[in-house]
Subunit: 328 residues, 2 copies
């Protein structure tokens, strides 16, 4: 990817510093039995990209960062709820180089801990005295619903051999775009921004989400296991229908029986490598990189389409480039 | 139980008729992949007790039933979300004489379908034009959180041999009381009732919930499998720490090693019957019936503590008696 700052934008560190205390304060209200699994999960860290978008969007709309905090806390809670349930559903035993909650505490506690975080997100927003809090809570509920729909699509695609590029894009827009979109929109809503500004920030987040997911899809096949914390070619092993894969299958157009055969059954190390070569050979890698670039450009364009405070808008652009160009 | 009307109160039929259409309309907005598991689950029916409480509470506070509908739909959605996840957690393969969602569609779809219903509940309330909708949504989020805490307690108690009666009551108040309490409070909140009235209806629901759970605990040991849809003594088999059991263990006070031994391990038919006899012998059955009566009386008393419209208040009392005295 181009134009990638090599160091993590300051906005992400600041988001962590501003959001961790109120987030942990909210978590401390959960019942005793839920503290251990939730804290184990949160102890794995995270980049706080969604929190940063909420805070920067509030500032880009002329409010102070504090105005965005309930939105930032809520969106991080929803994101972590989704990770807890995804790990159960996908059977993933490790995340961020540590055991997942279900692997450490059991499936029941992981389900319940996720439920608690999702509910806590709504509590945090609805307890905010901000006059736009209810509108923000509705935005969050709708985005959560879209994300859940994306997860349902993702599951439904696994046993299918052929998924169209369009279906895949819709799934990824829901699964990842919805929350990034919501993060940016929440900041703007809590800042009391006009509808056109909220819409522009929503679009910024949506396209950034698609670009982000496209890059994640590349890492799911070609990422360094030491960095991603997942085995080589993990998406191929799990029969995930990610962008590079569905693009390659569409390009092969039924001509490559051997390739399609590799998208089923249990794959050996060698078969994973062969499948990855097929995906690359049929242009899946190149086309996905291209899509990530295009959606990043659209996201950056959305920031130019409405009047925003200059400094925070520039930071939103920095975060977008960092996130999409990240090498892990 | 005494004073039980033998026929189902009309309020429950009316609740089903009023709530099913908007509930199904809300469900139809979910993504395609979620429709089948959600509709399978809802097809099992249900008594619509929570919906009836929301509608009657709104009317008892001088509003029309329509005012309570978004609250009634939301509380039914949360209730069904909890059933979907409970069935996964407890490994129950049947509910209402039909396969549970995880047994029919898999664990992943059951988790996701539950998540979708929980989120939909918030959407339904927050989309309501009622000026008290945001306050109602916060009430619902807090009740959901309490219910989740109750579920976490319930799970944590299973491997323990001794659970105090107080711990058990707290768990049951959270697990069942929170939603019934919320149902009645939602109707009052949406009707714009004064705080004292909301509080009284919340108390009505809370005590009704405890009474309801106490009766359910009796059925979990002595219920007719043909009616409950669960095997004889299912709570004993699953090592659930329900009221009759914890009361009996407390009464045995360490004197009954054979009884306590029956609360561990895999039980045969015969051992289940013996354990049930121990529970009855140590007074667990009688004391639980007594508690159900007391909490029912407190619930009915709460209805007398504030001015309420007479007809709907009488129906709230009828529903309470029916629910607690029900013979299934």
């Amino acid at each position: 990817m181009t134009a990638r700052p090599l160091v993590q934008p300051r906005a992400l560190d600041r988001a962590r510093d501003l959001v961790q205390p109120p987030l942990l304060a909210a978590v401390s209200r959960l019942s005793d039995e839920l503290q251990a699994p939730v804290r184990h999960h949160l102890g794995g860290g995270g980049k706080h990209v969604r929190a940063a978008l909420a805070l920067l969007a509030a500032e880009a709309c002329g409010a102070d960062a504090e105005t965005g905090i309930p939105g930032a806390v809520a969106i991080e809670l929803i994101h972590n709820f989704s990770l807890l349930h995804d790990d159960v559903i996908d059977g993933d035993r490790e995340r961020r180089h540590r055991p997942t909650v279900w692997a450490e505490f059991g499936v029941g506690p992981a389900i319940i801990a996720g439920d608690a975080l999702a509910t806590l997100a709504m509590e945090v927003l609805l307890e905010d005295a901000n006059p736009h809090a209810a509108r923000a809570a509705l935005e969050l509920a709708r985005a959560s619903q879209a994300m859940i729909a994306g997860q349902a699509d993702d599951m439904a695609f696994e046993p299918r051999t052929v998924v169209s590029v369009e279906e895949c894009l819709t799934m990824e827009e829901r699964k990842t775009g919805a929350l990034l979109s919501c993060a940016a929109a929440l900041g703007a809503i809590l800042a009391g921004a006009p509808a056109a500004t909220v819409d522009a920030l929503r679009e910024y987040g949506r396209h950034l989400g698609i670009a982000f997911q496209a890059v994640d899809d590349l890492l799911g096949i070609w990422g360094d296991p030491a960095v991603t914390g997942k085995p080589v070619g993990s998406d191929l092993r799990q029969h995930k229908k990610t962008l590079p894969i569905v693009i390659a299958v569409a390009a092969a157009d039924g001509l490559a029986g051997e390739f399609v055969a590799l998208l089923r059954g249990r794959l050996s190390e060698r078969e994973v490598a062969t499948a990855a070569q097929f995906v690359e050979g049929y242009g899946g890698r190149q086309a996905t990189m291209q899509m990530a670039e295009e959606h990043l450009a659209t996201a950056l364009g959305a920031l130019e389409s409405v009047p925003l405070a200059e400094g925070p808008a520039a930071e939103l652009a920095d975060v977008a480039m960092f996130v999409v160009g990240r090498d892990r």
